[in-house]
């Protein structure tokens, strides 16, 4: 009997190695890192990403996975934003804001055409923006609420008049709301596109890869590579393996714990990019016992933020609602320190010894953060139960129904301080002074003065301990030395590929 099993094992071993050998014969081993040559205009850039979009309809569907690849590459707006979140002109060659902050006048670049071949005129801009303004199912509808009129005085000019000054308006045009679509186009945007960008969509193999080709008829500087293939690899380890096998030249969102493997291979250079990701520990401000500011402060004092950042592996501490890349940022580390003793005192003062709280967290965030919080809170006598749920459940229970004590979500949107000035947002934070300061900041025409008002409001929010900002996320990207010009910052919300080149290995 034993002998037979062994023979079986031997046969299967031979069979398996035969299969492996035939499979290997076709694929050449990746070249060892060679000196970098001239950019190859016919090159294909392969980028590994984690989160695949569910469909390509950026007009109706929210989500960073869509904006990340589509904005600037396929679709363009009048303005866009740089890696530092600065606003830059895009389809518009220039724009002017009137001194009262109400009238925005954009002049279009020459020779812009949609991928269908049709020329883009100011009428397309008016129709696109008019749709966002009037159709509540389109992304950014709320951001366009302050628009009084959108007109096209001539084919290259667009004029937008607001009913009240809005410091955020121009920035909202850098998002999905500001993209320009062909008037009367019947393309099914869920699976196809008709943009104006430097790339066109060639193929989407759902669950696997999306491929772009260079738009040879692009109105601006043509892209540096002939083709881009986004490979979606949801598993972090599999992503690193693919990169090490030579399957991608760029791997985004590298798990900090796996980063050394890529660096040690010598085939990749790692960059750490800044983001506006705010890892937010939300407190249900509207519900006891978290409606007591002493309890909220105690929880913040109990968290060892430096240790937490170390455990997460990338990012930096953040003690207020506004990250470094957004206007109004200020270092608020003086507001809260790591002080478990003081935390215990505050809890005792609030009559909340032996406090038991539940943390509701979408399951894809993993267990690192909850583990640190459980142990930190344990030290001050707070028991933390972790309720790991699917994202739609989180949306229903926490976001819509406000049925939670504590919640953890990475809030990735830039310039979203307004959530703390909105008493109806799920934080349940209601402070009239913050709301008034935020309204003033929006209405303020001078950007610097507006930022000062935001900073003032952000300090109040942090001093009220409306939430805890566990860390400001950073994103690690592994880039092959053959690749030049790949963006570093904010790439989890925007990967502008027009300036990227790939050199032929020598």
């Amino acid at each position: 009997m034993f002998r037979r099993t062994r023979r079986l094992a031997l046969i299967s071993a031979i069979a398996a190695s035969a299969i492996v050998l035939t499979a290997c014969a076709g694929a050449a081993d990746p070249e060892p890192s060679a000196p970098v040559g001239e950019p190859d205009p016919d090159a294909t850039l392969q980028v590994g990403l984690v989160l695949e979009p569910t469909n390509l309809d950026i007009r109706h569907t929210s989500g960073a996975a869509l904006e990340q690849i589509l904005i600037d590459n396929i679709y363009e707006g009048l303005v866009t934003r740089s890696q530092d979140n600065e606003i830059e002109p895009r389809l518009a060659s220039d724009y002017e804001v009137s001194t009262d902050g109400l009238t925005y006048t954009f002049t279009l670049n020459d020779g812009i055409a949609f991928h269908s071949g049709a020329a883009l005129t100011s009428a397309d801009v008016v129709a696109s923006y008019e749709a966002v303004r009037t159709d509540a199912t389109l992304q950014g509808n709320a951001e366009f609420a302050s628009i009084a009129s959108i007109t096209a005085p001539d084919p290259t000019t667009v004029q937008i008049v607001l009913s009240a000054p809005n410091q955020n308006f121009l920035f909202s045009l850098t998002g999905p709301a500001g993209l320009v679509f062909q008037t009367g186009d019947t393309t099914d945007l869920k699976t196809a596109e008709n943009g104006t960008g430097p790339f066109t969509l060639t193929r989407w193999n759902k669950g696997s890869a999306i491929t772009f080709a260079r738009n040879e008829a692009y109105w601006g500087e043509p892209a540096g590579v002939a083709e881009v293939e986004f490979q979606y690899i949801p598993d972090f380890t599999a992503g690193v393996n693919t990169a090490l096998d030579g399957g991608v030249q760029v791997l985004t969102a590298v798990d900090p714990n796996l980063a050394p493997q890529l660096e040690d291979s010598g085939d990749f250079t790692l960059t750490t990019g800044r983001t506006t990701d705010k890892a937010t520990l939300a407190f249900n401000n509207a519900k006891a016992p978290l409606d007591d500011v002493r309890v909220r402060e105690a929880l913040r004092l109990a968290i060892d933020h430096d240790a937490l950042v170390a455990a997460v592996g990338a990012g930096s501490t953040l003690y207020g609602p506004i990250p470094e890349l957004d206007p109004g940022y200020e270092d608020l580390s003086d507001v809260v320190s790591y002080d478990p003793e003081k935390a215990k005192e505050l809890l005792a003062e609030a009559g909340q010894e032996d406090l038991e709280l539940t943390l509701t967290i979408p399951s894809f965030y993993g267990t690192t953060v909850p583990k640190v919080l459980i142990s930190d809170f344990q030290k001050v006598g707070v028991t933390l139960d972790v309720d790991s749920v699917e994202f739609p459940t989180w949306l229903e229970d926490v976001y819509t129904n406000r049925d939670f004590d504590l919640s953890f979500v990475l809030h990735v949107e830039p310039r979203d301080f307004g959530n703390f000035a909105n008493p109806d947002y799920y934080f349940g934070y209601d402070n009239a002074e913050v709301q008034s300061l935020y309204a003033q900041a929006l209405a303020e025409v001078d950007p610097d003065a507006s930022a000062e008002l935001l900073a003032k409001a952000a300090r109040i929010v942090s001093e009220d301990h409306a939430a805890d900002w566990l860390y400001n996320g950073a994103t690690i990207t592994a880039v092959s030395p053959l690749v030049t010009g790949f963006p570093e910052d904010s790439i989890n919300s925007r990967i502008n590929l027009s300036g990227v080149t790939v050199a032929a290995p020598q």
Partner: protein
Amino acid sequence: MIRYALVRGALLVAGLLVSSAVIFLTLRVLPGDVAQLIAGTQASPAEVQALRESLGLDRPLPVQYAEWIGGLFRGDLGTSLLSGASVGEELLLKSQVTVPLGIMALLIAVLIAVPFGILAALRRNARGGTALSVGAQALAAVPVVWAGMMLIVVFSVWLGWLPPQGFPRTGWSTPGKAIESLLLPALTIGIVEGAMLMRFVRSATLQAAGQDFVRTAAAKGLTRTRALISHGIPAVGLSIITVLGLQIAGIIVGSVVIEQLFTLPGIGRMLVADVGTRDLVKVQSELLVLTGFVLVVGFVVDLVHRAIDPRQREA
């Protein structure tokens, strides 16, 4: 026979209808909806409501159910709320992974179960037979996930023979690679299901050994083993077919877990992803197709059984 087939067929249709209602209603218990997911956390409640209306999610449940069933009768499995893709087309695409995986797993299971099951029965009183039975008992109790992880550790991590996960992007246009990536997952399901089947083959063989006709054959001069193999096992084969039918259902259920573990782009993984995004129109059609498949297998097994086994023919 015809009357039996008609009654059995009516039962099949009734089963499908009941399942469709159960699937439809149980999915509606899930918290969260696709409209909220599409709109995101920056959307106002009014925007979400408008989206919900445009997707038809605000209509009464009976209307939604009737529309779904009506589409099914016209052969339309519906379209995904999220991706706009046809559910039927995507099922067909994903079945290119799941169906070969199931067939490979079934083959492996049968290849393990039949020879070893008969051997275990023949050597019932020897040490080897007992070891086989105990081994099968233990293997059948192994969770599929654990078995899969062990196989990954041995064949991918230690030996480096087979890929630990994924399916080639090129699909079946590179058959070698496709088979290679399905081998470990098929082995995982095949071993566990095979161990379960083996215990059945063993007890069925033993039962056959006790039958009068086997004893008669032995009395006519055949050895016990020969008598069992030439007379007993063909009689047992029939009940093995029934169990095999049940086994197919087990393999489908197993594929949901195994495709997740090996990140295979098959029906199981699609189902999990769609539940995760609350694409309920898609999930309910997918579930009904799977349920229908299991029910049809049962139906066919019953008919075959009836046709072959003389004892079951109606008087």
